[in-house]
């Protein structure tokens, strides 16, 4: 009688308010990254007279780096790289990992054992080390960074998709559909896949943050996007020797990185608390 599992409109609203700040931060940053380079000074042009100028110096809102390049312009361009890598690698993972996981969870048996054993092997390596190794092997480029990150985080998606699929397969509406004579295609597309999407998406939001960190780490170590294209990781690396004299060169991209990751985590948290309601209606 006291069906408190159904979230009320008010509690949903409260969650949205909780999620509002991160949403605004991410939206502003994404918009700035997309249109910013049109307005900010060219990220490549050098203003050598003002090299390593501090923030709020004339013409340079966030100062310049050691080559006299505008920090704001470079940070925004770095944001584009981060967003691209985050979204692209996660999308790739969702597609491949989701398919693998659903396949394993639905068919069980040997197919499951085969897929999951490979995934477990990938999982046995620390994510960052594996990504590093792949990036080093493939050679530094934006595309290879995406491939490296996708490959090393794939098992998480596959595992989640498999677990979700297995629990959905046990539900009566799936057996009911099968007993109607529905072919596997119908059950997979109409019942399983739609109900796996929401937990996967929630996880993906968290994973975007992780992918951005891995990208920054790779770039920091010189295995990511190559100069002069700016990336937050490589910018921090460039600023590292000058932490004493011009801390803003490393701190500005660092602060952006921090803000984005925090916002993504907060957002994912608020979504996850609402996920059961949006997901399986239990």
């Amino acid at each position: 009688m006291l069906d408190s599992t159904v979230p009320s409109i008010r509690s949903r609203a409260r969650r949205l308010v909780g999620a509002r700040i991160p949403v605004v931060v991410l939206a502003v940053l994404t918009a700035a990254a997309m249109v910013g380079p049109l307005f900010a000074p060219d990220s490549g042009s050098q203003d050598l007279r003002n090299a390593r100028a501090g923030p709020l110096s004339p013409g340079h809102l966030l100062g310049t780096d050691g080559y006299g390049r505008d920090m704001l312009a470079r940070t925004l361009e770095g944001a584009r790289i981060s967003i691209f890598v985050g979204v692209a690698s996660v999308a790739l993972c969702l597609l491949i990992g989701g398919t693998l996981g659903i396949t394993a969870g639905y068919w069980k048996g040997r197919i499951d054992a085969g897929i999951m054993r490979v995934m477990d092997m990938v999982l046995a390596f620390p994510t960052l080390i594996l990504a590093l190794a792949i990036a080093a092997f493939l050679g530094p480029s934006l595309r290879n960074v995406v491939v490296a990150i996708s490959f090393s985080t794939l098992p998480h998606y596959a595992r989640l998709a498999r677990a979700t699929t297995m629990s959905i397969t046990q539900r009566d509406f799936v057996s009911s559909s099968a007993l109607l004579g529905a072919p596997h295609r119908h059950i997979l597309w109409r019942h399983i896949a739609p109900n796996t999407v929401s937990p996967l998406l929630t996880y993906a939001l968290l994973a975007i943050g992780m992918a951005i960190i891995v990208e920054a780490s790779l770039s920091f170590l010189g295995l990511g996007v190559q100069p002069p294209t700016p990336s937050w990781g490589s910018m921090i690396a460039e600023g590292r020797p000058h932490l004493q004299g011009a801390p803003h060169v490393a701190l500005v991209p660092g602060a952006f990185l921090f803000m984005v990751i925090l916002s993504l985590n907060l957002l994912a948290d608020s979504l996850r608390s609402g996920a059961p309601a949006a997901g399986l209606g239990r």
């Binding site: 009566d172 009911s176 007993l179 529905a182 072919p183 399986l280």
Partner: protein, 358 residues
Amino acid sequence: MTISPGAAASPPDTPPTPLLETTGLTQTFRLPTGAEVQAVSDVSFVLHRGETLGLVGESGCGKSTTVRTILQAPPPTAGTVTFGGIELTTTPPRQLRRLRRRMQLVFQDPHASMNPRWTVRDCIAEPLQVHRVGTSSSRNDRVHELMDLVGLDEGYLTSRPGSLSGGQCQRVAIARALALDPDLICFDEAVSALDVSIQAQILNLIARLRADLELTSIFIAHDLAVVKLVSDRIGVMYLGKLCEIGPAESLYRSPRHPYTKALLSAIPKPDPRHPDRLRRVNLRGELPSPTDPPSGCRFRTRCDRADERCSLDVPPLQTISPGHQVACHYPLSASAPVEMTPLPTRRANGVVGQSPTR
């Protein structure tokens, strides 16, 4: 083992045609521990067109598994299932899928049996869609027709199952099961999760549909009164075995298997004045583990008639009167109905005349 069709089950002028026949149906599961459980053991019966067979028994007796096994989900480990002249156990998967439109199952938990993301319309239309019946507009007409048939307001068409009550949801499930005009509908505890007044509504709906559509069905419930209300014949199961099967009325009036009698005597009567407040037959001991069922008759460990023969020979299902079979070496006699010692009714001041004997 073939069973002669019950005379009471169908009108005498039309020869009854068996829709479903199982022989030696057996379902064995292997537990993770390695132990094997015979959830259904050597169950044979016939179901005629237009007839409803009720299956009763306590939890774990295998009544649900029997129905799932008949529906080949999963197929039996032994025995045969003949449905409309077709042997289901040897039917290839593709053909079996097509046959499924002729047999439907209604689940116990109406909410769990619908995809929470779908609308009522989607749920009812799914069988039509799966079997590519009609055009989308004719399907839509059929959905409206079905909603009307089960007494649901069309305003609910766009609702999601989560926003319906248990009774409404079970109506949707029934509409969905009826969508393809199946030959056989199985109700697996379909009214057990509902409140008493809602259960009555759904039982009446099923009774009306049975009469109007001449449904053939198997009805499972643990409530014996519920089963009697909707069934022509009733089968009683214990530990995977069919102990007794016969016409509803005569089976309840004079049960021939000691287990049936014990089961019937345990029903709480909703009326302390009722003359049938039977003296209870208490079962000795507890339900044996299904992994290690007793030898011979599986009921013998709790039966006061059991002797050595019961532990040696498995009692076969024998016809004792037309359409009535019992699997017992020492069946109760038909002339001796259940003893009718009324239970003492309590007085308002807390004084009780006599405590029920055990």
